[in-house]
């Protein structure tokens, strides 16, 4: 408990805007936890306590309107230390780069578009970040995705294990939405996501969950 209080105390002394950016929720915000987390950087998620022991004091900064009974986490300051590269992920990125970046246009004989280097870079960065978040933030295993091309020049990042799947499609234009879809048993998740790190925590949590 004191550890987390210390975190908040330190944050209040630091640059509030850069450390706790986005923490102020709309007054009428009653979104469930999973939606709330989407607005923050994944490493801003700090395990605080069980659902039976919500730490109300720390949540007052976020919003008085969030139902604390549903929360097992609290948003806290993040470390700016970059993730360490995971060799398994780097190997897949190298394999995919050798395959995708040399395709050329019409690589399928049906007019397929060559994915751009920028699109591939965004896909690779996502694979790196998400895999590292699973390990670092959620204490999960190294889950290696496959990175593959699409006819329209977009790139897929695809996790497929016996218990969970997640497909994230990186469009060939950064102006188009990045979409995702996943399944774990009868549970499904799908939608659009902005490709900045702070919005990927819920996807890392989805992959990391082993229940």
């Amino acid at each position: 408990m004191s550890e987390f209080l210390d975190i908040e105390d330190e944050a209040e002394e630091e640059d509030t805007e850069s450390t706790f950016q986005g923490l102020v929720a709309p007054k009428d915000w009653t979104a469930p936890f999973t939606e709330m987390v989407m607005g923050f950087r994944p490493s801003d998620v700090v395990i605080l306590g069980s659902q039976s022991e919500p730490q109300r004091d720390l949540f007052l900064t976020i919003s008085d309107h969030v139902d604390l009974q549903d929360l097992a986490f609290v948003i806290g300051p993040r470390s700016e230390i970059p993730y360490q590269p995971l060799p398994q992920i780097e190997a897949e990125i190298a394999r995919a780069a050798a395959s995708i970046l040399q395709l050329g246009n019409d690589w399928d004989g049906e007019g397929a578009i060559q994915p751009s280097e920028e699109t591939f870079r965004r896909a690779s960065a996502l694979a790196r970040d998400l895999a590292a978040q699973i390990v670092v933030e959620f204490n999960g295993p190294v889950l290696v995705p496959t990175i593959g091309p699409n006819h329209d020049g977009s790139v897929d990042v695809y996790w497929s294990t016996p218990s969970v799947t997640l497909l994230i499609n990186i469009p060939n234009s950064s102006e188009q939405p990045t979409t995702f879809s996943g399944r774990r048993g009868t549970e499904t998740v799908a939608g659009r996501v902005a490709l900045d790190e702070r919005r990927l925590g819920h996807l890392a949590a989805w992959l990391a969950c082993t229940r």
Binding site: W107, T146, G148, P149, N150, H151, S160, L167, T179, S181
Partner: protein, 131 residues
């Protein structure tokens, strides 16, 4: 139109699809193998085709560039918006089409591709020689 009668495809039956080598990684079919097709996704019904025959009928690239996977007709039909129809052509009685993969605002193509990829085991690896 073809002279072959259009038949109902039972839910348990398999539909064979050619899969370009770029869409196979570690013997797994990747979601990229499934994409938006204005005319639907062409497959071949196992009642009138074998996986080898499906591979041999490749047109855009030589058959050696493709593997073959299958999907179960009934599984495809459980995906919202998708239907399976027997669409024989004069030269290919086995031809069947998965409709519903149109690029449309109400179709979540990422979900469709993810579900289909997970339900499409590989039967012939692209590395296998063509016989």
């Amino acid at each position: 139109m073809s002279s072959w009668p259009i038949e109902p495809i039972p839910d348990p039956d398999r539909l064979f699809l050619r899969v370009l080598a770029q869409y196979v990684v570690a013997s797994k079919v990747q979601p990229g193998a499934f994409r938006a097709h204005v005319t639907g996704t062409s497959t071949e019904w196992e009642k009138y085709a074998t996986p080898r025959e499906t591979r041999s009928r490749a047109q855009s690239k030589p058959p050696s560039h493709y593997g073959v996977c299958f999907v179960i007709a009934g599984r495809v039909r459980t995906i919202p918006g998708l239907t399976v129809e027997h669409t024989p052509t004069e030269r290919n009685r086995a031809h069947a089409t998965i409709f519903g993969t149109l690029p449309a605002p109400d179709v979540d193509l990422t979900t469709v591709r993810e579900v289909l990829a997970a339900a499409a085991p590989l039967l012939i690896h692209p590395n296998e020689p063509v016989r």
